[in-house]
C-alpha cells in the first residue's frame, strides 16, 4: 500500500444469508480526491460503504482506514447514509439532526457547548440550510433533506466523507450546490467517497472510480477506468452470470467457499 492510501479493502466479502453482496473485493483508494463508487442496482455499493463504516460486519476479509482499524480513526470519518432509509416524519428540527454530528465529540451525555453550536451553524451555512434551522424535517423537500445530511456530516469535522447516493432524487439546484461544495471540500484537502449511479456525470464529478458488480470490476483514475470495456463488464452481459451464481447460492444453500 502506498503512502497516500486512505482506504484499503482486502478480500472483503459480505453475505446476506447465503447471497453475496460483496465478493472478494480488493482495492486501495487515494486520499484528497473525489472518488465515485458505481455499479448497477444491487451491486453492493451501499454495502461497501456500510462495511467500511462498520455498520455491517464483513463475513470475511477486512477494510482499513488510514492503515488502521476504523475504531482508532473514527473521528476523522463522516458518514452520510442514504436519505431514503430514514423516516423523515420523525419529530425533529433541522437543527436537531445536524447537531447529531457533534455527538461523536461530546458523547451521548454531555451538553453541546457554544463551540459546538457555532460549528452547527457554520455547517448549516455551508449546506445553504441556515435559514431552515428551525424547520421540521418532515416539511423538507428531497434536496433539502440531502443538504441536512451533508451539514450533519460536515459538523463532524472529519477528513474523509463517505456518502451514500447524495445525488439520488434531488433537484438540479441541490445537485449543483452539492457539486460546488464537494469541490470546496476537496480543495480543503478532504477525501470524498461517493456512491453514485448516473453515468453521464461520472467523468466530470470524479477523479477516481470504483466499478462494482458484487465483485470488483475496476478501480483507478477515472480516465483509465471509465472505458467501454469496463463499463460493459460492470453493467452489461457479465452481470447476469454473477447474478445467476448468486441466485444458485441462495436457492440451493451452497456455501460460498469450502474449508
Amino acid at each position: 500500500m502506498s503512502a497516500n492510501t486512505i482506504i484499503e479493502a482486502h478480500n472483503l466479502t459480505v453475505l446476506y444469508g447465503r447471497k453475496p453482496a460483496l465478493w472478494n473485493v480488493d482495492f486501495t483508494l487515494p486520499e484528497k480526491e473525489v472518488i465515485g463508487i458505481m455499479g448497477p442496482n444491487g451491486s453492493g455499493k451501499s454495502t461497501l460503504l456500510k462495511s467500511i463504516m462498520g455498520v455491517v460486519q464483513p463475513t470475511s476479509g477486512f477494510t482499513k482506514v488510514y492503515d488502521q482499524e476504523l475504531d482508532t480513526v473514527r473521528d476523522r470519518v463522516s458518514y452520510v447514509p442514504q436519505r431514503q432509509d430514514i423516516d423523515w416524519d420523525f419529530p425533529a428540527s433541522v437543527w436537531d439532526v445536524v447537531s447529531m454530528g457533534r455527538f461523536q465529540k461530546r458523547g451521548l451525555f454531555k451538553k453541546l457547548t457554544t463551540e459546538d453550536k457555532d460549528i452547527i451553524s457554520e455547517s448549516l451555512e455551508k449546506a445553504n440550510m441556515l435559514g431552515f434551522a428551525k424547520r421540521q424535517i418532515s416539511q423538507l423537500s428531497g434536496g433539502q433533506q440531502q443538504r441536512v445530511f451533508l451539514a450533519r456530516a460536515i459538523a463532524q469535522q472529519g477528513d474523509l466523507f463517505l456518502m451514500d447516493e447524495p445525488f439520488a432524487g434531488v433537484d438540479i439546484a441541490t445537485e449543483e450546490m452539492i457539486v460546488s461544495l464537494l469541490k470546496e471540500m476537496k480543495d480543503e484537502g478532504k477525501t470524498l467517497v461517493i456512491v453514485h449511479h448516473d453515468l453521464h456525470t461520472a467523468q466530470s464529478y470524479f477523479d477516481h472510480l470504483v466499478l462494482l458488480n458484487t465483485r470488483l470490476v475496476a478501480c483507478g483514475p477515472t480516465k483509465d477506468v471509465f472505458t467501454d470495456k469496463f463499463l460493459t463488464d460492470t453493467y452489461g452481459g457479465k452481470l447476469t452470470t454473477i447474478a445467476k451464481i448468486s441466485q444458485e447460492l441462495e436457492n440451493k444453500e451452497f456455501p460460498i467457499r469450502h474449508k
Binding site: 462498520g54 430514514i86 425533529a92 447529531m100 461523536q104 451521548l108 421540521q136
Partner: protein
C-alpha cells in the same frame, strides 16, 4: 352522592389507600407513555403486544417455582420471559425469511398459549394461594396492595429517570440507527437497554391492567402526543401527562361506580385524550387541517371574484354592478354577496348601492392572480407540448397556489414573457 362529594371523598386522608392506588396507577401509566414514545417512533407498536402477552408464562412459572404470590417474583418472571420473547423476535428476523408481522403474531400466540396452559394447570392444582392469578389477563388495579403500588411506583420512577438520562441515545437510534453505528456508538447495547426498560414497564403494567390492555398504555399516549408537537422532548412530556392523568382519572371512575373495572377505564380515558389530540392538534390535528382547507377555499373565492371584477371592469378602471358579475361571470348570488362583503372588509373593493369599485389594493391583487395564471399557461405550453385550449383549466387551479418564490422562478425561467399563449398581455 354527587360528583363533588365523590372527588372530596376520593382525595380525603381516610381514603389513603385509594389515593395511593390512583397515584401509583398514574405513575405507572406515565412510565408506559414515556417508554412507549420510543416504541411508537421506532414503528414497533406491535412489539408492545408481543411483550405483554409473553410475560404470562414467566408469571406462571414464577408461581409454580415459589408457590407464593409475591409481586417481586412475578415481576422477575415476567421480565425474563418478556426479554426472551423480544430476543426471539429479533433472532428469527435476522435468520429467516418470515415477514416481521408473521414473526410478531407467532411469538405472541405461542407465548400466550403457553401462559394460559400453565395458568389453567395452576388453577386446577388446588393451591389455595393461586386465586386471583387470572387477574393478569384483565388487570386488577383496584385490588392492588400498598406494597404492589410502592414497588411499581419506585420502578416506574427509575424508568423515567433512565429515559431522561438516555434521551440522546434513544433518539439517535430511533431516528437513524446506521448513522449512530457509523459514529461508533454501541447501538446493540442502547437497543438492549431500551428493550429492558420497555419490558420492565410492561411487566409492571400487566399486573395493573392485564396483558390485553397493556399495549394500549404503551402506544396510545405517544400516538396522541405526536399530533400536538414536533419536538421529541415535548412529545415525551405530553405522553407522560396523558398517561398520568388517565391513570388517576381511570381509578377514580372505577372507584365511583360499583364493580367498575379499573384497567379498561384507564384505557378508555387514555383513548379519549388521544382522540382529542388527533382532533385538536394545532398543526397536524383534524380540525387544524379542516381550517387550512377552509382558508384555501376562501382564498380561491376571493381571488376568483377579484379577477372577474378586474376583467369585467376593463382592468378595474370602470365601475360595474353586482348584477353584471352574476349575469356575465355566472357567480352564485349568495356566495358572491358574502365574498364581496369579505373583500370590502379587506379593502379590496368598495360597495356602493349595488356597484363594485376595485380599490388600488384590489387592482394589484387581481393583476397578481392573472399574472400567475398566464405565467403558468406559458410554462405548460413551453415544456409540455399542450394545446392552447388545454391550458386554461389547469391554470385556473394553479394560479392560487403559486407562491412569490415560484413566481419569481417562473419569470426568470421564461425570461419575463410579454404575452401568454392566447396573446393576452401579462400584467407585471
Amino acid at each position: 352522592m354527587n360528583v363533588w362529594e365523590h372527588i372530596t371523598t376520593f382525595f380525603s386522608v381516610e381514603n389513603y389507600t385509594l389515593f395511593v392506588v390512583s397515584i401509583g396507577s398514574g405513575i405507572l401509566c406515565l412510565a408506559a407513555g414515556v417508554v412507549g414514545t420510543f416504541t411508537y417512533l421506532r414503528k414497533r407498536a406491535l412489539i408492545g403486544d408481543v411483550i405483554s402477552h409473553s410475560v404470562l408464562p414467566g408469571v406462571a412459572i414464577a408461581f409454580i417455582l415459589t408457590g407464593v404470590k409475591n409481586p417481586l417474583y412475578f415481576l422477575l418472571g415476567a421480565i425474563i420471559s418478556g426479554l426472551i420473547s423480544i430476543w426471539i423476535v429479533d433472532y428469527v428476523q435476522t435468520k429467516s425469511k418470515l415477514k416481521p408481522d408473521s414473526i410478531l403474531a407467532l411469538t405472541l400466540s405461542v407465548f400466550f398459549g403457553i401462559g394460559v396452559v400453565l395458568l389453567t394447570k395452576i388453577q386446577h392444582s388446588g393451591n389455595a394461594a393461586q386465586s386471583g392469578l387470572d387477574s393478569f389477563l384483565f388487570g386488577k388495579a383496584a385490588s392492588m396492595s400498598m406494597l404492589d403500588v410502592q414497588l411499581f411506583s419506585a420502578i416506574a420512577i427509575i424508568n423515567v429517570i433512565c429515559i431522561a438520562l438516555f434521551l440522546r441515545s434513544f433518539s439517535i437510534i430511533s431516528f437513524d440507527e446506521n448513522y449512530a453505528k457509523g459514529l461508533g456508538f454501541n447501538v446493540r447495547l442502547i437497543k438492549g437497554f431500551l428493550a429492558l426498560l420497555t419490558v420492565v414497564t410492561v411487566a409492571i403494567g400487566v399486573q395493573a391492567v392485564g396483558v390485553v390492555l397493556m399495549a394500549a398504555l404503551l402506544i396510545t399516549p405517544a400516538s396522541g402526543a405526536r399530533f400536538l408537537t414536533n419536538s421529541i422532548r415535548r412529545m415525551l412530556i405530553y405522553s407522560g401527562i396523558f398517561g398520568f392523568a388517565s391513570g388517576i382519572i381511570g381509578v377514580f371512575i372505577s372507584y365511583s361506580g360499583t364493580g367498575m373495572p379499573t384497567g379498561p377505564w384507564i384505557v378508555i380515558v387514555l383513548s379519549a385524550f388521544t382522540l382529542s389530540a388527533i382532533l385538536l392538534g394545532k398543526q397536524r390535528g383534524v380540525f387544524a387541517r379542516m381550517k387550512v382547507r377552509q382558508n384555501n377555499h376562501v382564498k380561491i373565492n376571493n381571488e376568483n371574484v377579484l379577477k372577474d371584477i378586474y376583467k369585467l371592469a376593463d382592468k378595474g378602471l370602470k365601475t360595474i354592478t353586482t348584477k353584471e358579475l352574476i349575469d356575465k361571470e355566472k357567480h352564485q348570488p349568495k356566495k358572491l354577496k358574502s365574498t364581496l362583503a369579505r373583500l370590502e372588509k379587506l379593502d379590496y373593493v368598495d360597495l356602493v348601492r349595488g356597484m363594485v369599485i376595485l380599490s388600488d389594493k384590489g387592482r394589484i391583487a387581481a393583476r397578481e392572480v392573472i399574472r400567475k395564471h398566464r405565467l403558468w399557461e406559458i410554462y405548460l405550453s413551453k415544456y409540455f407540448q399542450l394545446d392552447a385550449d388545454h391550458l386554461h383549466d389547469d391554470a385556473e387551479g394553479i394560479e392560487h397556489i403559486i407562491t412569490p418564490e415560484i413566481e419569481k422562478y417562473l419569470i426568470k425561467l421564461l425570461e419575463r414573457p410579454e404575452t401568454d399563449p392566447h396573446q393576452s398581455e401579462i400584467p407585471y
